[in-house]
């Protein structure tokens, strides 16, 4: 029999106002095993913890029940207190009489009665507790960053600067991400490439950073501190060691009709290509779908002109297997498809473009060399209409329910840049709300209105109608004047909602990281652990967690790096001791448990067992306690009842059920 001490907390008046604490102490003091019971104002305080320590020593307690707030709040506190007093921390149970009792019930009699029952259940459980010892697992001192945009680059740089090896996996042929496609950045209007490319170069040159471009994560196994990851290096058809990046192959390539991903399909590129001039690595990729050699077998011009002999048509995908202690997800975003927004005529007119496409139009290295022109006829536009919230803040399934956060600011930026460079162009912005929380953000927006004369209209556009003369008729509303507006425009720019990169779902599944209904990765805690996934060892960087602009992304990237470094700095991790355990005598080796284990923690061994004097070789289940996360799926599946979960054993839970149903 255990020697149990029960400690009932008043929590000021939080508990004591609706639960008669003295009555609880009295009611449970005769429960089996209880040798000590007392109450105190604040159990979690220094003095409260001292009371517990004192009782453990004086009464030689072997188990503790604290009737207080939720175990999610202070279980760790009381476990540590017990441990300091020489008791195994897993001999502590919490009866949640605040969140589950005093706060939800008004009647003191009813609440006290319930508190007593909850305390009894915890006492019944602690009577069956056994001391548990956490295992240890080693930490591989290497981090993986998935995604090579500004978030991934910054995280990798920060981790590498702390002295740890980092691998970046990027699915496109170059790192740089969305930021490399942008022209200028708000609210300072500095050039995106000018601030990004030095970071890209720094990452590439860093001795601790290893970059896998044109590569994808294929498989992830393991757990915090010890992940094993298969990285698929897709066949580049160019030998990275031999290529000098001279660019002759791209010049001579006869297949130049492939849509350029980097220019959002506005321009074309050759079949052998680097996405943009500053690409890192500066090694081209052969796009086999568009390559004449791969399609017909006849061509091979690139191989002929390559002085370095780097072209390799026979190259195959290569799988690299590497171990990591921490994984940072930085998969970024894309704009949503506008197939469901026919009213804006995006698919009908070349002059209706998304804001990201406008970035490529305005960029000096873009399709039009930075000249603002209509994509249909190359003429200079005179009237440009911007439409905000296209696909953002939608209650239906055409768009996204959230605010994409960056659109108000980049629209103000675009409007301002256009008015600055082409003062004779009229710029109109249809908005629902202008949201500018951020340092110098509202000042920026006001400048667009007051200094640059951008015409902001409160109201939405209902329809964009392409006219026979090539212009666009915009039918909108001015809610403040209560007038419907028909406006002739040459160009319409849609502030298209952003969404997490579609591949993130696949990656989250591999990582067992949770994801919300919008495909954003979920944080471990919305406020207090915003850069960690609930899955240990997985960290979140950038827009994969939620919409954000560049400075926020960089800040989060640094935060994710710090969390990863904190993990990598440890030599060993303590593992949760509440793991499954098989009773060798009862196990019949049927494999049912291994089939339901999501972690592959159960294997089988042939062991000699002594079954009541009969010694025989049997195939029995063995749980790897470092891999087991303690869900308990196996315990229910086991047909012979051999599998049990430590800390939540069958008997413990049944004893709780009994105490409640008494």
């Amino acid at each position: 029999m255990q020697r149990v001490g029960v400690f009932v907390c008043h929590c000021g008046s939080n508990i004591a106002a609706t639960v008669d604490v003295k009555r609880v102490v009295e009611a449970i003091s005769n429960e089996p095993g209880v040798v000590h019971a007392e109450d105190y104002q604040y159990m979690c305080s220094e003095a409260g913890q001292a009371l517990i320590a004192k009782a453990i020593k004086e009464k030689a307690l072997t188990g503790i029940v604290v009737c207080s707030c939720s175990p999610r709040m202070h279980e760790a506190t009381f476990r540590k207190a017990a441990e300091r007093a020489g008791l195994n921390p897993y001999m502590v149970e919490i009866a949640n009489i605040r969140e589950h009792c005093s706060w939800i019930h008004k009647d003191i009699v009813e609440a006290t009665e319930k508190a007593v029952i909850l305390a009894r259940a915890a006492i019944a459980k602690v009577n069956l507790n056994t001391p548990l010892k956490p295992g240890e697992s080693r930490v591989t001192k290497r981090a993986l960053v998935i995604g090579g945009g500004i978030a991934g680059i910054q995280t990798a740089l920060d981790i590498a600067d702390a002295g740890y090896e980092v691998d970046i996996v990027e699915k496109t042929p170059s790192i740089g991400g969305r930021m490399s496609q942008l022209d200028k950045t708000f609210p300072t209007l500095d050039c995106s490439a000018c601030i990004l490319t030095p970071k890209m170069v720094e990452a590439a040159a860093h001795e601790k950073i290893n970059i896998y471009t044109y590569s994808e994560v294929d498989k992830v196994s393991g757990f915090v501190g010890d992940f094993t990851v298969d990285i698929r290096k897709k066949a580049r058809s160019v030998d990275m060691d031999k290529c000098t990046g001279c660019g002759v192959c791209q010049e001579k390539c006869p297949s130049k009709k492939a849509p350029s991903e980097f220019n959002r399909g506005l321009g074309t590129r050759s079949a052998i290509y680097t996405p943009f001039a500053q690409a890192i690595p500066n090694v081209p990729v052969i796009d086999r779908e568009n390559c004449i050699k791969f399609k017909t077998g006849k061509c091979g011009i690139c191989a002929k002109v390559c002085q370095a002999g780097a072209i390799d048509y026979e190259q195959k995908d290569e799988i690299i297997t590497e171990k990591y202690g921490a994984i940072v997800v930085a998969t970024g975003f894309d704009t949503i498809k506008l197939d469901n927004y026919d009213e804006y005529a995006y698919s009908q007119s070349k002059d209706v473009i998304t804001s990201l496409e406008l970035e490529r139009v305005m960029n000096a290295a873009g399709t039009t060399k930075g000249h603002l022109e209509r994509l249909s006829d190359g003429k200079a536009p005179k009237d440009i209409v911007f439409i905000q919230c296209v696909g953002s803040r939608c209650a239906d399934d055409r768009g996204k329910s959230y605010c994409s956060k960056i659109c108000c600011m980049y629209t103000a930026k675009h409007a301002m840049l256009i008015r600055d460079k082409y003062p004779d162009v009229n710029v109109t912005v249809f908005y629902i709300d202008v949201r500018t929380p951020g340092k110098n953000f509202d000042e920026f927006y006001r400048r667009a209105v007051e200094q640059y004369g951008v015409n902001y209209i409160k109201g939405q556009v209902g329809k964009v109608i392409p006219q026979p003369d090539g212009s666009l008729l915009v039918q909108g509303v001015d809610l403040l004047d209560n007038k419907q507006i028909l406006k002739q425009a040459d160009m319409v720019v849609l502030a298209t909602a952003i969404e997490p990169d579609p591949d993130v779902r696949k990656i989250a599944t591999m990582l067992t990281a949770s994801i919300d209904t919008n495909n954003f990765l979920t944080e471990a805690h919305a406020k207090l652990r915003p850069v960690e996934s609930p899955t240990a060892g997985i960290f979140l960087s950038g827009v994969c967690q939620g919409p954000k602009d560049i400075p926020e992304t960089v800040a989060q990237a640094g935060a994710a790096a710090v969390k990863a470094i904190g993990l990598l700095a440890k030599d060993k991790l303590l593992t949760n001791p509440c793991t499954a355990k098989a009773d060798e005598l009862l196990c019949n080796g049927c494999s049912a448990c291994a089939n339901v284990c999501p972690y592959g923690a159960i294997s089988y061994e042939v062991k000699e067992v002594n079954d009541h004097g009969i010694r025989e070789q049997r195939r029995v289940a063995v749980v790897n306690s470092a891999l087991c996360q303690g869900c308990g799926a196996c315990t229910v599946t086991c047909p012979s009842g051999a599998m049990d979960l430590q800390g939540f054993s069958n008997l413990q839970i049944i004893s709780e059920v009994d105490a409640i149903c008494q």
């Binding site: 009213e343 919230c389 803040r393 939608c394 209650a395 239906d396 055409r398 768009g399 629902i432 709300d433 409160k458 109201g459 939405q460 556009v461 209902g462 329809k463 039918q475 909108g476 509303v477 809610l479 209560n482 419907q484 507006i485």
Partner: protein, 129 residues
Amino acid sequence: MSSEKNCAQQIKEISGADPLKCMKCGKCSASCPSFNEMDIKPHQFVSYVANGDIEALVNSKSLYKCLSCFACLERCPRDVKPAKLIDAARQLVVRQRGKDYLTADEIPELLDEGLPQQLLVSAFRRYRR
């Protein structure tokens, strides 16, 4: 007519729409082909229902200017269904005896040769019982 609060509730029930979902973007009014004919514009209609100002609605011209083209309903990003709200308000009126917008005798005078028969029938259905 029962109290205005009751009517607002009835309009919400008949239409199955929730005016509180409106984020005041005005896309309904931007899409409306009868906008200029209306005294209470579609986006205002939504906020009148939300605020329970039903008296003004049932007396408004807008009830009979709405073509039920459902452009607002199709394009509304918040799924507020302004056209259904208007339709529901119209029903509230039509359901009362003697509140017909048109009587049968008035019709021939208004007839337009180019008008499709189907439209005529649907107008009858909508404006009188």
